[in-house]
C-alpha cells in the first residue's frame, strides 16, 4: 500500500516540476519580450482557451482519474482470512483489542499477523486522535462516538512504528505505538499464550 502511495507521489512530483518549469519559463519569456507596437491583442485565444482552460482541464482530469483508480486498490475488499482488531485512543494511550481473543487488551503495541489483511476498528474515548502507521497505510481519525475502519496489511513479520496524527494536547508528541507483525506460528501463540 505504501508503495502505491509512493508511486503516486513520484508521478505527481514529476508532473509538478514540469508544470512549474513551463509556467516560470513563460513568465520569463513574457517579461523579456519587447513586442512591436503593431502586434496588438493577438494570441488571446491561446492564452485563455488553450493554456488557461484547456491545459488544466486535461491534466487534472487525468490526475483525478489516476488518483481514484489507485485509491481503489487501497480500499478494503472482502478477504477470506480477514483479521479484525480494535484500536481505542485516549489521552495519550492506545488500547488494542482482538476479535480472535476476546478480553485480550494490549497497550501501545498492536499485534497483527503478517501477510493477512487486517481491519482496524478505530475509536476514541475522549478527544479526536488519528491512527497512522506510515509504512502500512494512510491515517484515519479516531472520533468520539464513531468507529472508522482502516484496512492494513504487513507484508512481512517485523516491527512498524505508529503514531497519533491529530493534535490532542500536551502529550500529543509522545502519543505513539508500535505494530508487531507475526508469522503464523507466533500469531497463534500470541492469541493463546497472552494472558
Amino acid at each position: 500500500m505504501a508503495q502505491t502511495i509512493a508511486d503516486i507521489w513520484w508521478m505527481m512530483l514529476a508532473g509538478a516540476m514540469g508544470i512549474t518549469a513551463l509556467v516560470l519559463g513563460l513568465v520569463a519569456a513574457a517579461m523579456l519580450r519587447r513586442p512591436a507596437p503593431e502586434d496588438g491583442e493577438g494570441g488571446a485565444a491561446l492564452w485563455l482557451w488553450g493554456l488557461g482552460l484547456g491545459f488544466p482541464v486535461v491534466t487534472l482530469a487525468a490526475l483525478t482519474v489516476y488518483g481514484l483508480l489507485m485509491g481503489e486498490r487501497l480500499l478494503p475488499r472482502n478477504a477470506a482470512n480477514l483479521v479484525t482488531v480494535e484500536a481505542e485512543a485516549r489521552q495519550w494511550v492506545w488500547s488494542f483489542g482482538y476479535a480472535d481473543a476476546p478480553g485480550l487488551v494490549t497497550k501501545d503495541v498492536l499485534h497483527i499477523p503478517a501477510g493477512r489483511p487486517v481491519d482496524v476498528r478505530i475509536s476514541s474515548r475522549d478527544v479526536v486522535h488519528s491512527f497512522w502507521v506510515p509504512r502500512l497505510a494512510g491515517k484515519l481519525d479516531a472520533v468520539p462516538g464513531h468507529v472508522n475502519v482502516l484496512r492494513i496489511e504487513a507484508g512481512a513479520p517485523g516491527t512498524y512504528a505508529g503514531q497519533s496524527a491529530e493534535f490532542s494536547g500536551t502529550g500529543y508528541r509522545e502519543h505513539t505505538f508500535t505494530v508487531e507483525a507475526h508469522g503464523p506460528a507466533a500469531w497463534s501463540a500470541f492469541l493463546q499464550g497472552a494472558p
Binding site: 505504501a2 502505491t4 502511495i5 503516486i8 507521489w9 505527481m12 509538478a16 508544470i19 512549474t20 509556467v23 516560470l24 513563460l26 513568465v27 519569456a29 513574457a30 517579461m31 519580450r33 513586442p35 502586434d39 491583442e41 494570441g43 488571446a44 492564452w47 485563455l48 493554456l51 488557461g52 482552460l53 488544466p56 482541464v57 487534472l60 490526475l63 483525478t64 488518483g67 481514484l68 489507485m70 485509491g71 487501497l74 475522549d126 478527544v127 479526536v128 488519528s130 506510515p134 494512510g138 491515517k139 484515519l140 481519525d141 472520533v143 468520539p144 462516538g145 464513531h146 472508522n148 503514531q163 496524527a165 491529530e166 493534535f167 494536547g169 500536551t170 502529550g171 500529543y172 508528541r173
Partner: protein, 830 residues
C-alpha cells in the same frame, strides 16, 4: 468653466471641500473620524503590527524546532505559540490587511469620495482593535488558546480545556468576524452603488470585481464559523451538549462548520491579492489586462467552487468513499479558474513591455512561489496521498507557499505600487531590493526543507522531535533560513516606513496607470475627487490624460459646495447612470462608543460577568438608535442639483437608500447563519450517535396558530404602511408589533415545553431555533418602536425607511416559521 462651478478655480474648490471633509483637529480627530483615508491608514498600521506579532511567534516556533530535544519551550508554551501564530496571521493580519487596502483604494478606483457607510467602517476598525488587543493581552498573560487554530472539540471543550484560553479565542475571534462582516457589507454596497458617472459594471476596475466577490464570500463563509463559535462557547459556558457524544452531540459538527468557513477563507485571502496582481501587472507591463471578462468569470467561479471543498480538510475523518471521490474531483477542479487567471496575467505580460520596478519584482516572487503552492495543493486533493501527509509538515509547507506566495508577496507589491498615492512619496532608498533578495530565496529554502521533513513523516504541532529520525539537518536549515526571511520582512517594513516619512515627493500618476484612483491628487485628499468623474471606458486615463485636471477644476458632478455637507453620487447598479445624491455623515464619536460597548458585551463573558454583557448589549441598542436617529434628516428636501443639469433625489428619500442595500446584504449573512443552524440540526439528527433523543417536542395547535398568525401579521403590517404611507401608518405599526409578540410567544412556548437545554443536543438546538426567532422579532420590534418615536417627534416617514423595516420583518417572519417548523417537525411526524 462648467455650468456647475460656483468655484472659479480648482484651488478654491479644493479649499472648500477640504474644510467640509476635514477630521476634527488633534488626537480626538482619530477617534471621531470616519473618512476612508484615516480609517484605512489606521487599519493598515494595526494589521501590520499584528503581522509583526505573528512573525515573532513564527520565529519562536522555528527557534524551538531548530534542534531536536530543545529545552527552549515545553509543550504547554509551544501549543499556545503555534495556535496563536495561526490565529494572529489568519484573523488579525491577513483579512484586516486587505480590508484596509480596499478601504484606502476602492473609493478612488470607483471614482467616488468615500465608502458607502463611513461610520460602519470606523466601527469595524475599533471592534477589530479591541478584539485583537484582548487576544494579544491574554497571550501575554499566558492565557492564550492552545488547541490549534482550528480548535477541534472535544479537545477545546470545557472538560479538556478548562482555562480561559479557548474562550479568549472564541469570543475574540467572533468579535473580529463581526468587524469583517461590517466591512464586507460596506464594500459590497460601495461597489454596487457608489461609482463615477458612466462606470457600468463592465467598466469597473478589475480590483473592484475581485473585492466584490470576496465581500460576498465573507458574508456567506463567516456565518457558519460564527455559529460554530457560538455553539462551542455556549457548550463551554452553559453545558449545552452540541459536541458531546453522550448527550446527542457530535464533534464532527464542529469540523463541518469550521471548514465550511475555513476553505472559502483561503480564497477570501487569495482573491484580494489576485485583484492587486491584475491591477498592478497591467501597469507594470504598460498595457491593459488580457481577457478582463475571463478573469471576472474565473474569480466568480473560484468563489462558487470554494464552497464545495470544505470536506477535503476532513478526508481522514472516515467520510464515505463516494463522498471522497466527489470532493477530490471538486478540489482539483478549483485549479482551473486559478489557471485561467495565471495565464491571463502571463498573457498580459506577453503583450506588454515590462519594467522591473519594485512592485514587479515582488510579483515575480509571487509567480515563483504560488505556482508551487498551487501544485502541492493539487497533490493534497488526491485522496491516497492526502491520507499519508495529512497533519505532517508537508501541509504546513503547502499552506505557507499559498499564503505567503499568494498573499503576502502580492500585498507587498501593492504597498510599493500604491505608496505614492497613499503617502505622496515614492521610493527613495533602495532597501526594498535587498529585502526582496533576502525574503524570497530564504522563504524557498525554509519551506522546501519543511516539505521534505513532512514527507519524511514529521508531524505538525509536535513541540519537539527525537534525534535519529533524519529530520535534524532539514529543521536546522529551515530555522536558519526563516530567520533570514524575518530580517528581510523587517527591512521591507523599515523601507516603507522610511519612504513614508523621507521619500521623494512624487509627481501625480508616476507609473502612468489608467484607472481613476491615479486621477486624484498625490497623496489623495480626504474628499478624494473635487468633482465626481464622468467616464467613458474601462481605462479612463488611457485616452484622456487631462481627466485629472478637469476633475480638479470641478467639471464632473457635485462640484457644488454650497450645501456644506459631504456628498457623493449613487449610480444605477448595471449602467452607472447617475441616479441619487447621497449625504455622507460627518465626524462622530458614536462608532467608537458603539465599538466599546460591542466589545464589552463580547469580552465580559470571559470573566463570567454576564450582567455586564447584558448592560453592554443594552448600550449597543441605545447607541445604535441614537446613531440612526441623528443620521436621518427631519425634513423632505426634494431634488437637488448634482451638476450637468441633473436634478437627482437624495438617497434617503428614495425607495432603495444605501441602508436598504446594506440590510439586504447583512440579511444574506444572517440567512446563511440560519441555514448553518438548520444544517447543524439535520447533521446531528442523521449522523450523531445517541439520537433520537428520549422524546420529541409535540406541537400544540395554539402554538402553531400563534406562529402562523404572527408571521402573517409581520409580513402584512409594514406593507400596509408602505402602500398607504399617509393613512395606514398607525394600524400597520400595530399589526406588525402584534406579529412580533405572537412570534416571540410561539418561540417561548418551545423553550417552556423543553426546559433543559443542557440535557440533550436536541433540546439545545430547539433553544437556538427559538432564540433565533425571538431575537429577530426583538430587532424588528425595536425598528417599529423607532418609527413610532420618529412619528411622535414629528419627523416625516420616508418610503426607504419603510422598505428597510419590511425587509427585516419579512426575514423575521420567514426564518421564524422555518425555525419553529423545524423544531416541531420531528414531534409532528413521530
Amino acid at each position: 468653466m462648467s455650468q456647475t462651478g460656483r468655484h472659479r478655480t480648482a484651488l478654491s474648490l479644493h479649499k472648500a471641500l477640504a474644510r467640509i471633509w476635514a477630521p476634527e483637529p488633534g488626537w480626538r480627530g482619530w477617534l471621531t473620524t470616519s473618512n476612508n483615508n484615516d480609517i484605512g491608514r489606521l487599519f493598515l498600521c494595526v494589521a501590520t503590527a499584528f503581522f509583526v506579532i505573528g512573525g515573532l511567534l513564527a520565529m519562536l516556533i522555528r527557534a524551538q524546532l531548530a534542534t531536536p530535544g530543545s529545552a527552549f519551550m515545553g509543550p504547554e508554551a509551544y501549543n499556545q505559540v503555534f495556535t496563536m501564530h495561526g490565529t494572529v496571521m489568519m484573523f488579525l493580519f491577513a483579512i484586516p490587511f486587505f480590508e484596509a487596502m480596499s478601504m484606502l483604494l476602492l473609493p478612488g478606483m470607483l471614482g467616488t469620495r468615500d465608502l458607502a457607510f463611513p461610520r460602519l467602517g470606523a466601527y469595524g476598525l475599533w471592534v477589530y482593535i479591541f478584539g485583537g488587543t484582548a487576544v494579544i493581552i491574554a497571550m501575554l498573560m499566558g492565557l492564550a488558546p492552545d488547541g490549534g487554530w482550528f480548535m477541534y472539540p472535544p479537545l477545546t471543550s470545557a472538560g479538556f480545556s478548562p482555562g480561559l484560553g479557548a474562550d479568549v479565542w472564541l469570543l475574540g475571534i467572533t468579535s473580529i468576524e463581526v468587524s469583517a462582516i461590517a466591512t464586507a457589507v460596506e464594500v459590497v454596497v460601495t461597489v454596487l452603488r457608489y461609482r463615477a458617472a458612466g462606470m457600468s459594471l463592465s467598466r469597473m476596475p478589475i480590483f473592484a470585481w475581485y473585492i466584490l466577490v470576496v465581500s460576498v464570500m465573507i458574508l456567506t463563509a463567516f456565518p457558519p464559523m460564527i455559529l460554530g463559535s457560538l455553539l462551542l462557547e455556549v457548550e463551554r459556558a452553559l453545558d449545552w451538549p452540541f459536541f458531546q457524544v453522550e448527550n446527542g452531540g457530535d464533534p464532527l459538527l464542529w469540523q463541518h462548520l469550521f471548514w465550511l468557513f475555513g476553505h472559502p477563507e483561503v480564497y477570501i485571502i487569495f482573491l484580494p491579492a489576485a485583484g492587486m496582481i491584475a491591477t498592478i501587472l497591467q501597469v507594470m507591463a504598460r498595457t491593459t489586462l488580457l481577457g478582463y471578462g475571463w478573469v471576472v468569470a474565473a474569480a466568480v467561479s473560484l468563489a462558487v467552487l470554494s464552497f464545495g471543498l470544505w470536506v477535503h480538510h476532513m478526508f481522514t475523518t472516515g467520510i464515505p468513499h463516494l463522498g471522497l471521490a466527489f470532493f477530490s474531483a471538486a478540489s482539483t477542479l478549483v485549479a482551473v479558474p486559478t489557471s485561467v487567471m495565471i495565464f491571463s496575467w502571463i498573457g498580459t505580460l506577453w503583450k506588454g513591455r515590462v519594467r522591473m520596478e519594485p512592485p514587479m519584482l515582488w510579483l515575480v516572487g509571487f509567480y515563483a512561489t504560488f505556482v508551487i503552492g498551487g501544485l502541492t495543493g493539487v497533490m493534497l486533493a488526491i485522496v491516497p496521498f492526502n491520507w499519508q501527509v495529512h497533519d505532517t509538515h508537508f501541509v504546513v509547507a503547502h499552506l505557507h507557499y499559498v499564503l505567503i506566495g499568494g498573499y503576502v508577496f502580492p500585498m507587498i507589491a501593492a504597498v510599493y505600487f500604491f505608496q505614492p498615492l497613499l503617502t505622496g512619496r515614492s521610493s527613495f532608498f533602495r532597501l526594498g531590493g535587498v529585502a526582496f533578495w533576502l525574503v524570497v530565496p530564504a522563504f524557498h529554502i525554509t519551506f522546501l526543507a519543511v516539505h521534505v521533513a513532512g514527507l519524511l513523516g514529521q508531524r505538525r504541532r509536535t513541540w519537539t522531535y527525537d534525534e535519529g529520525q533524519g529530520w535534524e539537518v532539514l529543521n536546522l536549515v529551515a530555522s536558519i533560513a526563516s530567520f533570514v526571511m524575518a530580517i528581510g520582512f523587517a527591512l521591507v517594513i523599515l523601507d516603507i516606513a522610511v519612504n513614508t516619512f523621507a521619500g521623494l515627493r512624487g509627481r501625480r500618476n508616476q507609473w502612468g496607470a489608467t484607472t481613476l484612483e491615479w486621477a486624484a491628487a498625490n497623496p489623495s485628499p480626504n474628499y478624494g475627487f473635487a468633482s465626481i468623474p464622468i467616464v467613458q471606458g474601462r481605462y479612463p486615463l488611457l485616452k484622456d490624460p487631462d481627466l485629472a485636471l478637469r476633475i480638479a477644476k470641478g467639471e464632473g458632478y457635485l462640484a457644488e459646495t454650497s450645501r456644506n455637507r459631504r456628498e457623493t453620487l449613487i449610480v444605477a447598479t448595471a449602467t452607472g447612470a447617475p441616479s441619487q445624491v447621497v449625504v455622507l455623515p460627518g465626524n462622530s464619536i458614536l462608532p467608537f462608543l458603539l465599538a466599546v460597548v460591542t466589545s464589552a458585551s463580547f469580552l465580559a463573558p470571559l470573566f463570567k460577568a454576564y450582567w455586564l454583557s447584558a448592560i453592554a448589549l443594552l448600550g449597543v441598542v441605545i447607541i445604535a438608535l441614537i446613531w440612526v436617529w441623528r443620521l436621518a434628516p427631519a425634513k423632505i428636501e426634494g431634488l437637488v442639483d448634482a451638476g450637468h443639469g441633473a436634478m437627482l433625489p437624495l438617497a434617503s428619500e428614495t425607495a432603495d437608500p444605501p441602508g436598504w442595500w446594506g440590510s439586504l446584504f447583512l440579511l444574506l449573512a444572517d440567512g446563511v447563519h440560519f441555514g448553518s443552524l438548520l444544517f447543524g440540526y439535520a447533521f446531528l439528527w442523521t449522523v450523531a450517535p445517541n439520537w433520537p433523543p428520549p422524546s420529541y417536542l409535540r406541537p400544540e395547535v395554539w402554538t402553531v396558530g400563534l406562529a402562523l398568525g404572527g408571521a402573517t401579521a409581520l409580513a402584512l403590517g409594514p406593507r400596509l404602511i408602505g402602500r398607504w404611507i399617509d393613512r395606514m401608518v398607525a394600524p400597520g405599526l400595530l399589526v406588525a408589533s402584534l406579529g412580533t409578540l405572537a412570534l416571540t410567544a410561539a418561540a417561548a412556548s418551545v423553550m417552556i415545553a423543553r426546559p433543559t437545554p443542557a440535557g440533550h443536543a436536541y433540546d439545545a438546538t430547539l433553544w437556538l431555533l427559538a432564540g433565533h426567532t425571538a431575537f429577530h422579532a426583538g430587532i424588528t420590534l425595536i425598528m417599529l418602536a423607532y418609527v413610532v418615536l420618529r412619528r411622535i417627534a414629528g419627523h416625516s416617514l420616508r418610503i426607504g425607511e419603510v422598505r428597510i423595516v419590511t425587509l427585516w420583518a419579512d426575514f423575521t417572519a420567514a426564518t421564524g416559521l422555518v425555525a419553529l417548523g423545524a423544531a416541531w417537525l420531528p414531534g409532528a411526524l413521530g
